[in-house]
Symmetry: C2
Subunit: 133 residues, 2 copies
DNA sequence: TTAAAACTGGACTAATATAGTCGTATTTAA
DNA sequence: TTAAATACGACTATATTAGTCCAGTTTTAA
């Protein structure tokens, strides 16, 4: 119920590795091999991180990835939202789905759940990816 | 990635409802009807809550459920553990699976993830079910 | 100029977890 | 003894997550 997906796990491992390499360019293959992470999956994740401007990439031979900014500027909250898409702790707080909720009007726990959500978000916002290194 | 399951949602709704009814005995059917929650599913959840000593039940005609203790004595953390079983925010923190993790020894993010987990647990421990009423 | 090493991207499949259903038994009050 | 309730296990369906496959494109270096 409160569990990081593999994507987040792999992201953290990759980001840490790339960060430690300083300005060296790192390939998906290298990380995949080092940590036994399925190559295709990791590649996808790194591509996503690039698209989200957390990494920059070079294509072609000798290509690879490096950080676009230091990891203490990226919160866990931001990483999760960018990798998995923003979402609420219950379906109905994921705004799109409001209309689909049978209970909504009579829902008794909406407000406190909302507060809970904010507290969780806060915790994740104050955790920087650099804290995981 | 941080989302309450329907089971937790339904639990909260049911517990709130039962709590508001004071000492009256409440049936699964009543709650199910009121909130459009699938009867069989809700029944299972209430049975589980009973087995975990959060509710007490009477069988037979005029049977139903009531609280075994006030909701400010039950933390969200406890409710989640009892409904879904205890689990870590990543697989490897769910102790049984340690042996299956390919990365484990070389895992760079284990320790900070562990700390993160403790902080999350803490947040959930300090939230009482009564806060959701 | 071409081959190899890398990223890019989409569609697909597999595995797992969550949500929901069904059938049957048991209990109990009226 | 019947109807209304909980109890329980097995099953199915759906959604999410994890992982695979394949066919590109880009770039460097030989």
């Amino acid at each position: 119920m409160v569990r990081f997906s593999k994507k987040i796990e792999y992201s953290l491992i990759a980001l840490r590795y790339i960060s430690n390499a300083k300005d060296e360019i790192i390939t998906a293959k290298e990380i995949s091999g080092k940590y036994n992470i399925p190559y295709e999956l990791l590649a996808k994740i790194l591509q996503k991180l690039k698209k989200e401007n957390i990494l920059v990439s070079n294509q072609g031979v000798n290509g690879g990835y490096k950080l676009s900014k230091p990891l203490n500027e990226i919160s866990l909250s931001e990483l999760i939202d960018k990798i998995e898409g923003k979402s609420g702790i219950v379906e109905c707080l994921h705004t799109d789905n409001l209309t689909e909720c049978f209970i909504y009007d009579s829902c008794s726990i909406k407000d406190p759940i909302n507060k809970m959500q904010l507290e969780l978000e806060n915790l994740l916002k104050n955790k920087m990816v650099s804290d995981f290194i």
